[in-house]
Symmetry: D3
Subunit: 120 residues, 6 copies
């Protein structure tokens, strides 16, 4: 059976973002807009930018951000070999303190792959 | 005239790394080896990995690391447009606290470009 | 119905602080004392200091500290408009990596407001 | 004689920001715009927001950002007593690792005060 | 009854590390090897190195790493008095932002002590 | 000839600390007192505590703090072999981002050793 951590994560994230944007002011909205647009295709392809976002999330050690960018990277067709090379850069740059986030990140990646196979 | 910040940086870096490796033990050497190999071409090209290293250096805010990866990225033919898109990801992920490092990083990039033109 | 995340948080915090102070030595107690007194009214009003504590907690990304300072700010009559302007400073200074903590912080703020209305 | 660290800082900062904005793309400009507007008077007065910016800069330990926000706070009439209470919050939240930045920050504050007296 | 947080932590950690090492490449394995060997007895005894690992985990604020090094320190016969002196260094160096991790760390230490008494 | 980076560092540090303590309030003084006392001999010897302070300074990447604790460790008779094993723990825990601070730290250590030989 396919776990639902990803669905829960997405649901909570969307619901809370809506709350923030409904209560926040114009600058909040602008920041969130930039945060979306910065990963769009440009001189660098979106795939590379999502890998950059993943790397930043790992060395700054934010589980939710790691999960989010893993989901985006999977959509951008990042292969497992590519993921693990990016994980290695995060490990080396950020040190062993990154490992607990890597454990949870790899678990999320496995769930993404199961969902791909299940066709969802 | 071409500035010599880059030459000074490289000279100091090489000299001090030699000192560390001559005094350090086996684990020190192994760590430094991994730190070199992790950016080698693989499933992800070296260019992408150097961009990942640059991103990590910016959000963790280490000037020397930013300088080092800018030099490597220039060697990997990263264009100015690509640099600034990667800088934007660093700005958005890491916040305004990244800006002082961006100021110095862009200065280093300009010096790299001047050296390229001067043929050195 | 009013959720009880806040009650749980307070209960755990108080119980664990007691444990730490009963086992810790004199320096532990002194640090905890300073940590309390630093937010007292002075040249700057307590309200401003709690906002400073909230800002520090957000850019250093500590959920428990964010929750604690949101509770204190609510007691100091910080309005929603003031909260969201402080949140924006945290977002801009600390970057998108702050967003997951903002999601949970805004949820805590909503719970505080519900408790206020419920008169507890 | 009045030192000129502040003048140098401002000159470098302005010159480099111009370079970044002339080379950067639209998102870079938007980020810089938000970074300016977020400290404007609103529900919270600018003075409080500059203190928030100072606190964030100290606990994230960025000398240039500390200098910048000290200059802004001086313009917003933050008194020495208020500065040192904010410094204490930064010390307690961020720990002794903040002290070297406090040393340089207090030096900058002294220079700002000398410039005020000298009428510059 | 003895809680099982420690057992759960160890089980998850071991299972996930296996997954990472089975999927990761040679550099991943090398990093994990160094991460094990760096705490071995040498010029500094293992006990001191585990305290160093604990200190690093606390000031970088990683609960899983704190739990892991507390377990290792208990095996190295670190006394409660020694633990609390190390905790104080972490508090002073890293600031009040360390306190939530101290709360959970002291809870883990209590569970370790209960397991010692229960002879498991 | 023996360099004078260490003398400059100590002079600046002492002068600025005096300024801070003369201008700061009671809480500032208390924080500085705790920051001194926390490294005193106790259940853990001062030598171990200075190594903990060094480790914390390296993984949090503060050059001045690294210099300070290296000086203290030298006074506590930490050997070069012990230093490099502690450096390795910092490298592994904190990652390659620690390396620039290691370069400068090892330079400071060499200067301390030269001063020891010169009998100053």
């Amino acid at each position: 059976m396919v776990h639902n951590h990803l669905r829960e994560f997405r649901g909570y994230r969307e619901k809370r973002n809506e709350k923030i944007l409904s209560q926040g002011n114009l600058l909040t909205k602008r920041f969130f807009n930039i945060d979306t647009q910065v990963y769009d295709d440009g001189a660098l392809p979106r795939k590379t930018k999502e890998l950059l976002g993943l790397l930043g999330s790992m060395v700054l050690r934010c589980d939710d951000c790691v999960t989010y960018h893993i989901i985006q990277c999977v959509e951008q067709k990042v292969s497992d070999a590519e993921f693990f090379e990016a994980f290695n850069v995060a490990l080396v740059v950020g040190g062993s303190i990154v490992i607990p986030h890597l454990r949870r990140g790899v678990e999320m990646l496995e769930e993404c792959r199961r969902k791909e196979k299940a066709g969802s």
